[in-house]
Symmetry: C2
Subunit: 438 residues, 2 copies
């Protein structure tokens, strides 16, 4: 037996129950805030010394200096060379596909010229340097290395620095191999808020970067929130979620595994199935019941489903899309006959997996789109990680003398309306210049 | 007499002096952090009641309910109708030009189909709702209303809510008129951290939004940082800055006013001139000297120039571009003979004003590009506010059965490498299905 919530949009308290189900409080508590503030302060002012102290304390490292925490390029190469061919090929193919998709996202310069010769546009440039945080320990995922590093490389970022904690030992071999394939420039086995601080402020050994991306625990998330502004950050990631909408015509066993694939991440992960067919919900529940004992991570799955999982009965697929829009899920699977049609009703989702043959797992590894996606309803305003996160735009304005005189008259009126007379004078000088010409 | 730093790239301590000059510590102190945390907590849990209490206390309002703080559409219209025709026309023309430029930024869906029929792409959708914070009091700028609201409207955002504090009275008429022109849906005269909290969490009267944009004081900035994740935010704005690069051939009086137009914003604003011609630096200094007493905001300008202004001598324009890239200025004016050529060397800047006839003031009001720009060196990783800030992307993946089988084999290897066997099973079920077909 296993536990999972059953809901129906027909029940009068559905909205409240749904809110309860998907709510996720990211609040971290004042103690953690204070600890992170102190770590960042120490790293900022004591540099290497502080990074080393924390790494020795938290990760049981015996290093005598931060330089010892750097992983050499040769070591990365060695990790790659030592992988079984099957894994090496799979990583390489995944990287190639992620790269091909990312190439499509590259932003380009644009401009237009007005009748009087005034040019307006935007110039696009890559960030100079990026830091990628990779979690260590159990959740050390080589796929995350590819997903964070490849788009940065495609954007043209010159320096990519990776940090990965290696508590009490060596980092994961697959993670090092992925770093070699993705083309990371330097790797340090440092983690936690101290790693974020080092990348934000720079130390004697670890160079400061312009943006920090990659998931981490509550300390890492809080540290990223605090250094935002000094550097860019990607997003504050919450637990992973999947919402599957099924018309009832997909093999229940497939759907059961699709839900498990999310639930197995951790106890807070969320897996929800929505269907207009209540019999199908029963069938999937039975399929989960049968398959659960055989799953290697059955205890995590069981806990996650009991805490945050749900089977939701809706009136029709249109209502299913409405539920999806309210949840704004990280992953949305449309396991239906006409997924293109249904996708047209979806306003908020990190990634949309369309059709019965597109399980989320393909997107997690190798389909091409990024697996770094907005969680905890942030798909209402945020996008998947992409090349565009590693590029930025500069506005271009090049006024012809005539254009400047024309715009200057408008600017002068508005600037004087705001009481900013130097703004007005600066514009008027160009107006007067052109009036002198006539 | 007025004070301004003189620097030269030839001096041995130039790098250190430049760092000192441009450094800006956004750190707000623990007291302010605690105050903002409390205000947000109160607004989240007591809703309207808390918003009303704070507004009565901080803004000396005598309102008896939050509904009284709403400004009606008729009142906005009235403000617009009552404006002198010259101001109304200028606002309207500015809005039109901002809209025309913003239209160019609209992101569109894209996709490609692989040989086996697998479709990959991204779907673009607007945010549902946006909150725009407009500062009150002296710095109530109608141009900011246009710059924040128009791109949201172009993106297709359905609900735009504006908040603007009105300490001890009515909001600025020009601000209300700009709200009418830009097409704001609802306006509340609420400000500070309580306004940010209301927009993030929603109250009985003020609806929650998906993203909050717009500048504010330290309380507003800290509140935005804290609600980031619950809602999207634009950026944490620091003081405004301009860097002018001039070859020495522009009228020194023009450059003096361009620098003043930045310095007059507030005492922390930064105005820097870089030129390879030391004589020109002297001429601009003299021009500033002569013009300063006549400026209406001369005391603010004087303080800003003394605290953070500088005249920097460089070896050549190439070195000037290097200085600009280190500073990553919000506004960069290229007052040179060949601005297109020089712009090609610029990697980091919020907006680039090219040529002698393109003073920053035109961009502040009506050229078209947004005046909400990355400050405090954040142009290293951030972009001007744009339509793209009010749209988001969802990845699209639609695998053909053959594509699913091919990708499933790769995903299975990688998932098992990461110990995520439900991921592997979910992929393998589709592989097996296709193997059964053959």
């Amino acid at each position: 037996m296993f536990e999972i919530s059953r809901l129906s949009t027909k029940q009068p308290d559905f909205d409240a129950e749904l809110d309860k189900l998907v709510s996720w409080d990211a609040h971290v508590g004042e103690d953690l805030e204070a600890t992170v503030a102190e770590i960042l302060h120490e790293v900022r002012h004591r540099g290497d010394r502080a990074v080393l102290d924390y790494t020795r304390r938290f990760d049981r490292s015996e290093a005598q200096g931060v330089a010892e925490l750097e992983v050499s390029a040769a070591r990365l190469r060695q990790a790659l060379d030592n992988l079984p061919a099957e894994q090496r090929d799979a990583l390489q193919e995944a990287a190639d596909r992620i790269r091909r998709y990312a190439e499509q996202q590259k932003m380009a310069d644009w401009s237009y010229t007005e009748e009087d010769g005034t040019l307006l546009g935007q110039q696009v440039t890559p960030l100079d340097s990026v830091g990628v945080y990779v979690p260590g320990g159990k959740a050390a995922y080589p796929s995350s290395v590819l997903m964070n590093v490849v788009p940065a490389r495609v954007a043209g970022v010159e320096r990519v620095i990776m940090v990965v904690p290696a508590p009490g030992g060596e980092p994961n071999e697959l993670v090092l191999a992925a770093a070699a394939i993705a083309g990371v420039d330097r790797v340090f086995t440092v983690g936690g808020a101290q790693a974020v601080g080092a990348l934000a402020y720079g130390t004697e050994t670890i160079p400061a970067v312009d943006k920090i991306v990659g998931p981490g625990n509550a300390f890492v998330a809080e540290a990223k929130r605090r250094v935002f502004g000094v550097v860019g950050i990607d997003m504050i990631a919450g637990p992973s979620e999947i919402l599957v909408i099924c018309d009832g015509q997909t093999d229940p066993e497939w759907i059961a595994q699709d839900l498990f694939s999310q639930a197995e991440h951790d106890e807070e992960a969320q897996a929800i199935l929505v269907s207009p067919d209540p019999m199908f919900l029963d069938q999937v529940q039975s399929a989960m019941e049968s398959a659960l004992p055989e799953m290697e991570r059955s205890e995590i799955i069981r806990t996650a489903l009991a805490k945050r999982g749900a089977l939701i009965n809706v009136r029709d697929l249109h209502e299913a899309a409405e539920v999806a829009n309210r949840i704004a899920p990280e992953h949305l699977e449309l396991s239906v006959a006409e997924p293109e049609k249904l996708a047209g009703y979806i306003r908020h989702a990190g990634a949309i997996f369309m059709g019965r043959h597109t399980p989320e797992a393909l997107g997690d590894y190798c389909a091409g789109p990024n697996h770094v996606l907005p969680t905890s309803r942030t798909a209402r305003f945020a996008s998947p990680l992409g090349v565009y996160d590693f590029q930025k735009r500069s506005s271009l304005i090049n006024c012809s003398p005539e254009g400047s005189a024309r715009l200057g008259r408008i600017a002068s009126v508005l600037a004087r309306g705001e009481g900013l007379t130097a703004h007005a004078r600066s514009a008027e000088l160009r107006v007067e210049d052109q009036e002198g010409e006539q």
